[in-house]
């Protein structure tokens, strides 16, 4: 069983926590998320043009790039994380251009050397995934795809085909960190998706409070939280880790209570 499978085989739903690499003290931020109970770490690769992200993660990207964060830095952060946390899966999330700049195979090899478990590329849909997905699979890295409320029955099989690790259900048709979808709609869509795949389904976009996380935990295999953490890093900077750990603890406790 690989690290991602193990994370989704625990008795509680997986908590997937996002941080933008190079925004604040990344190592301390990631450690705080793990200490708070995060089951999977999503490490955002900063990009100048994050089209699918709302203001919170856009700002985090710019803060990180403003400090001069490079692709090599991001990979080093992943490598260092693995040394400190041998069991916690780490997934790189980002946009196509920084991932394919030196070629998909270069990126897959570099991610493999950093012992990364999965990669989420926002803007490579299955139709264009002829290079990155195969290169990642070749290196044993899970290509994790996104399904959305607009992914209809006709498209869903194409999205699932070639996906590994887990399926990331984007609960709202929109950008990160904005409004949250109604729980009824999330439940219906997750159940629809789970009829087509054995992959765990994690739900994200717009989840900001322990109450929301708990609601989703009742109907999904995992909950993804990003903007709420990124906002804390933006507000508290180097003092963010304590806040991140507290929010993670509150969310994971609420999720476990909801399922028990």
């Amino acid at each position: 069983m690989n690290r991602l499978q193990a994370a989704f085989s625990k008795p509680h739903p997986a908590f997937v926590a996002f941080a933008t690499a190079g925004d604040g003290d990344t190592a301390a931020n990631l450690d705080a998320l793990v200490a708070g109970g995060a089951d999977v770490i999503e490490l955002g690769m900063p990009f100048t043009d994050p089209m699918a992200d709302g203001p919170a993660i856009q700002s985090a990207n710019l803060r990180s790039l403003g400090k001069g964060t490079t692709t090599a830095d991001v990979l080093q952060m992943a490598t260092d994380f693995r040394k400190r946390h041998p069991e916690t899966p780490l997934v790189l999330m980002g946009y196509a251009n920084p991932m394919i700049r030196r070629g998909a195979e270069w990126f897959a090899l570099a991610a493999s050397n950093a012992d990364v478990d999965g990669v989420i590329c926002v803007d490579i849909p299955p139709e264009e995934d002829g290079e990155l997905g195969p290169a990642l699979r070749e290196k044993g890295i899970a290509p994790i795809r996104l399904a959305t409320p607009t992914t209809d029955a006709a498209r869903l099989p194409a999205v699932i085909e070639g996906s590994e690790g887990f399926l990331y259900y984007v609960s709202v048709a929109g950008i990160t960190g904005k409004q949250q979808a109604a729980i009824d709609s999330i439940e219906a869509n997750v159940s629809r998706i789970k009829q087509s795949t054995d992959l765990p389904v994690a739900v994200g976009f717009g989840v900001r409070t322990p109450e929301q996380a708990a609601e989703i935990a009742k109907v999904a295999d995992g909950v993804v939280v990003g903007s709420a953490f990124v906002d804390l890093v933006g507000e508290f900077g180097d003092a963010a880790p304590a806040k991140l750990q507290a929010l993670t603890s509150a969310m994971t406790s609420a999720m476990r209570a909801a399922r028990s």
Partner: protein, 405 residues
């Protein structure tokens, strides 16, 4: 030309939207069903004679097409070489070629039952053209414009507001055209149920590069027929400026399979190609993925997008339509770049020889025409697309020339 010269240069893209290795549909999953839907609707519209008839009617009676084909006699004399002819798309309603595409796309929006229009704009020409067609069809309109460009192009901002559009200044990133396009895509993702995104150039995810090119191809189709009627022959060289590349494709595409017609696309070299203050994606960039398509981009070694610079707000986009990337790779079209200073020379030259104040975008092409014409003989013909008029740019030009207004 490369060894793999295709039988026709006019059959791109393939059915997945690829121009060779370029183009495609690199969008978030949320947008995929939408652009697939748009493609289905566009194919249906293409097959519907009523759609084409309404498009043609509006172009004739509302836009003022066909635009004239004009022999620039005094410019030709001044240059002392090839004959210079202009396709006068600056005489269109709203003063640029942009309106051709906007008419086509708003008819598609109407056909799809969309009730809200969004667009991005750089110089403001596409924003004005979009606001214009929205007023004409009574649809609410939101224009995303980089805050830098809002400051540089205040007359066009006022025009858009007069036409009833809401202009949203975009402050993220570098606050220019690429950031406005990011914001347009974000709006679209969140409002997919009722909103149509009118993209202003032949870029973005498939089918936009194809449909924008096709709507703009009226330029080259008219020019080809006009040139044959007036001179009994085809031109030797076509010239057009390139930001995203829609006016150039509009002129070039109908001539692509005329092997004796050479073509020159003119990018903005800004302060020069040797530095990083230019907007020449093809000559100074490398292939990558941005805004839904694979194409040449200005970017650093980590794939971060860098800001383009040009005196012309309409050219400082860090990407280029994917069909141009393919036309460059195949060698069918030659590309060059012209600096801010050289474009200003072209601007002044046309004002004084022909009594036409051009936009700064085609002023780049005018400079390239002047260079080429001198190397050609007087029985040869250069045809340039004069794609926009310069009213919007007189403040920028005055500032550059040190004139207080």
């Amino acid at each position: 030309m490369t060894e793999n010269t295709p039988n026709s240069f006019r059959t791109q893209p393939d059915d997945r939207g690829h121009f060779g290795e370029f183009g495609g549909r690199y969008v978030a999953e949320t947008l995929m069903p939408l652009i697939l839907d748009l493609e289905r609707e566009y194919r249906a519209a293409q097959a519907d004679p009523a759609f084409q008839a309404e498009f043609d009617d509006l172009l004739e009676h509302y836009v003022g097409r066909p635009s004239p084909l004009y022999f620039a006699e005094r410019l030709t004399e001044a240059l002392g070489g090839a004959q210079v002819w202009f396709k006068r798309d600056e005489l269109n309603h709203t003063g640029a070629h942009k309106i051709n595409n906007c008419i086509g796309q708003i008819l598609l929006a109407k056909r799809m039952g969309k009730t809200r229009i969004i667009a991005e704009t750089g110089a403001g020409q596409h924003g004005v053209a979009t606001a214009t067609v929205c007023a004409r069809f009574g649809l609410p309109c939101v224009i995303y414009m980089g805050a830098e460009d809002v400051a540089r192009q205040s007359p066009n901002v006022f025009r858009m507001k007069l036409l009833g559009a809401e202009v949203v200044p975009v402050t993220s990133g570098g606050a220019t055209l690429k950031d406005a396009m990011n914001e347009g895509l974000r709006d679209w993702v969140a409002n997919v149920h009722d909103t149509f995104y009118i993209i202003g150039t032949a870029a973005g995810p498939h089918p936009y590069p194809e449909l924008v090119r096709n709507f703009q191809s009226v330029i080259g189709t008219e020019a080809r027929a006009q040139m044959l009627a007036r001179t009994g022959r085809l031109p030797d060289l076509l010239v057009a400026c390139i930001g995203g590349g829609s006016n150039a494709l509009g002129l070039f595409h109908p001539f692509l399979d005329d092997p004796d017609v050479k073509m020159l696309g003119v990018e903005a070299a800004g302060h020069g190609l040797d530095g990083d203050e230019h907007a020449a994606s093809l000559l100074g960039g490398v292939p990558g993925v941005l805004h839904g398509n694979k194409t040449y981009l200005l970017q650093d070694e980590d794939g971060q997008i860098t800001e383009g610079h040009s005196i012309s707000a309409g050219l400082d986009y860090p990407g280029i339509g994917p069909e141009h990337a393919w036309l460059k790779e195949t060698g069918r079209v030659e590309y060059t770049a012209v600096t801010d200073e050289e474009a200003l020379e072209g601007f002044k030259l046309l004002c004084r020889t022909e009594g036409i104040i051009p936009a700064l975008e085609p002023s780049h092409a005018i400079h390239a025409v002047a260079e080429r014409a001198k190397q050609m003989s007087d029985d040869q013909i250069i045809l340039m697309n004069l794609c926009g008029r310069g009213d919007k740019d007189i403040f920028t030009v005055a500032e550059k020339l040190g004139v207080e207004m």
